[in-house]
């Protein structure tokens, strides 16, 4: 009896997951999008040897300034234009903050972890300050969100393909573009000259410098590009997902993104899978309450509180870092500022 209990539970779990999949998938995709984009930022920065724990702050700043743009231009230009401009501003915000982080870590050779901590505190302060000063007193809310594209009825009613296609297109442009970003970054990192240089600079900057690669320029480029993508993650939160801004609304997503980077062993596809896994953990916590499973499994899953599902990504990361499930090794020169010989 006891021997059979566990396989039966697993079987029930598989059946249950299959049953709730149509409900689960959109939630997973929505939750994983900012994580995956943030993780791409982490991969790009750390592959070139710059630790960035300020992803959370960069996402928050970009989310705010993107929202502010959409919010101010909403009435005069209409939702589509305002939101597109907002996304542009968010990406630009990310890039500018990336420039700041690159200047601090590459040129000034300030401590990278302190620089990231500064970024997080600054983001919390600046967004909270401007939110209280500008958005709250105006009494208006909402920058509008991008309207998802709805599939024509004939296509959506196709068996099998229809629902999947509809669900994918329901996600909005930023969420849909994530997979493209991931694939392009993966290819670029491992199949192009730029990628080779990035990895060289991150593993052994001195050797890279010797063969004529500009270490500083490479690191600047990567950090700025990465942070621009983190800015897109911020835009997703305010302009695609919720259409509003709350203080501290990133809620630790930047840190889970950091965890996804480690989980994915510093590869774009790996960290995307990590983001999906972490998204699934949180999504399960939601779905279990909406569609409880039947039988023993239902009792078991109900007995695990929602907060445990939400805490799962953090606990998984610690277990992975501790080397319990295979070691995860970062680039060799990650976190170490580079100084040309003879210069101090």
């Amino acid at each position: 009896m006891d021997l059979l209990a566990i396989p039966r539970l697993i079987w029930e779990l598989v059946r249950y997951l299959f049953e709730v999949l149509p409900d689960l998938l959109p939630i997973i995709l929505a939750l994983a999008t900012p994580l995956a984009l943030g993780a791409l930022c982490g991969v790009l920065c750390e592959r070139s040897g710059v630790v960035n724990i300020g992803i959370e702050g960069i996402m928050l700043m970009a989310a705010f300034f993107g929202y502010l743009t959409g919010f101010t231009l909403h009435d005069t230009l209409g939702t589509p234009v305002a939101v597109s401009l907002g996304i542009g501003v968010a990406v630009l915000t990310g890039a500018v903050l990336g420039l700041l982080h690159a200047w601090l870590t590459v040129s000034v050779r300030a401590d990278q972890i302190i620089a990231g901590t500064m970024m997080n505190i600054a983001a919390f302060g600046v967004t909270g300050y401007l939110n209280r000063l500008i958005i709250t007193p105006s009494g208006r809310g909402g920058a509008g969100v991008i309207q998802p594209f709805h599939l024509p009825e004939q296509l959506a009613s196709l068996p099998l393909i229809g629902p999947i296609l509809a669900m994918f297109l329901d996600q909005g442009p930023i969420a849909m573009s994530v997979i493209i970003f991931v694939l392009v970054t993966q290819l670029a990192l491992f199949r192009t000259r730029w990628g080779l240089r990035t990895r060289a600079v991150g593993e052994h900057p001195k050797a890279a410098d010797t063969v004529g690669i500009n270490v500083f320029r490479q690191r600047y480029m990567n950090v700025i590009a990465g942070c621009a993508i983190a800015g897109l993650a911020g835009a997703y939160l305010t302009l695609e997902s919720t259409g509003s801004f709350q203080n501290g609304m990133t809620g630790g997503r930047g840190f889970i993104a950091l965890a996804a980077v480690i989980f994915g062993r510093w590869t774009p596809i790996g960290s995307f899978l990590g983001a999906l896994l972490f998204g699934t953990a949180t999504a399960l916590g939601i779905v279990v309450n909406v569609h409880p499973a039947a039988g023993d499994l239902g009792g078991l899953m109900k007995s695990i509180p929602t907060f445990w599902y939400a805490a799962l990504p953090y606990l998984i990361t610690i277990v992975i870092l501790a080397g319990v499930v295979g070691r995860s090794t970062p680039p060799a020169a990650d976190g170490i500022p580079y100084a040309k010989e003879g210069k101090t």
Binding site: V51, I53, L104, V108, A110, D111, Q112, I113, I114, A115, T117, M118, M119, N120, I121, A122, F124, G125, V126, G128, Y129, L130, R132, L133, I134, P137, G252, F255, I256, L258, A259, I262, P305, T306, F307, W308, A310, A311, Y314, L315, T317, I318, L321, A322, G323, R327, T329, P330, P331, A332, D334, G335, I336
Partner: protein, 380 residues
Amino acid sequence: MRRVRATLAPTWAVASIPVYSIVLAFAVAAIVVIVSSAFTETGFDPLLPLKAYGSLFAGAFGSGNGIANTLVAAAPLMFGGLAVGLGLKAGLFNIGVAGQFLVGAFAAAVTGSSLANAPTIVGAPLAILAGAAAGAAYGFIPGYLKARTGAHEVVTTIMLNNAAVLLLTWAVNDLVRAPGFSFPRTGDIGQSALPILAGRNLHLGIAFAVSSIFVIRWVLDRTTLGFEIRTVGANPNAARYAGMRPVFITALTMTLSGLLAGLAGAIQMLGVIGFYAPGITASVGFDSIAVALLGRSDPIGILFAAVLFGAFRAGAPLMQIETSVPIEVIDIIQALVILFLAADLVVRRVFRVRAPKVEITEMATVTGSWGGTPPASAAR
């Protein structure tokens, strides 16, 4: 006069960059305030920063009540700053103060509320011990993992911070929720509250915090343990060849650091908050990092930095009421202080500082170990 200058010179050499950083941070924040004032209803006001800083100062030091509030806000920052500073001395960056603070506050609240009717002399010490133990345990986890497996403490403590928020919310909801309230919270600490020494809110924890500054200073400067901690921070390999145990010291320092952060939570709970509810935020976490960096991870420096940031927290509400400059300007100033400390070449250019570079050299050990080399890797 010359003798005075001679004794002050070394102090100024260390303190000049932090002091100039604060001045520069206030100046840049003033620009932010002026520019942003153009977007409000009251309109552009170039004198607004002066008014705002004036009421900030008045709120923090202008009255007996203000000074008391400053000290009350500074007490947990002293413990938190010591927690981060002690870690830095051993080459460990404890970003986990926020989580350890919450765990400590929670443990103190649960113990305190279960002893709510016991005499203070029993309840308060036990609640403080519980908070310290919980913080220490929560600090031990990343310390042990760093020592044994090389898992970087910055990542593990960030994860533990977020996990702590969620798990404590669950614990308050499902395990220790006090009956009779409309929202999830623990019971009142009642008699376990720290005694008030003077005025309305000057509780015993402040004296406790100030004395801990000198205890930690003594430990670091005068004991074998302190010497070992500093040596491991400066150079783990040298420490090992000198016969010290970097693995043990790493785990122990993180545990002690967590203990101090847990104490910060405990005294805040027993002296100020009174019950644990999931909403309590730990701005102490990030504030402590700023305090430790500004204080150059030196206990006396941390004492001054904690009072300064405590004054910010205490004076900010009055500033927001009188001048409607948002409280969050404090966070901006704090971030700018850290920015200028990290990029001290800006400060040197602006103020033409010629003092020799005084760095927290142990930070090199912190970021350099991002690649996951446990301090004992060569020994195993």
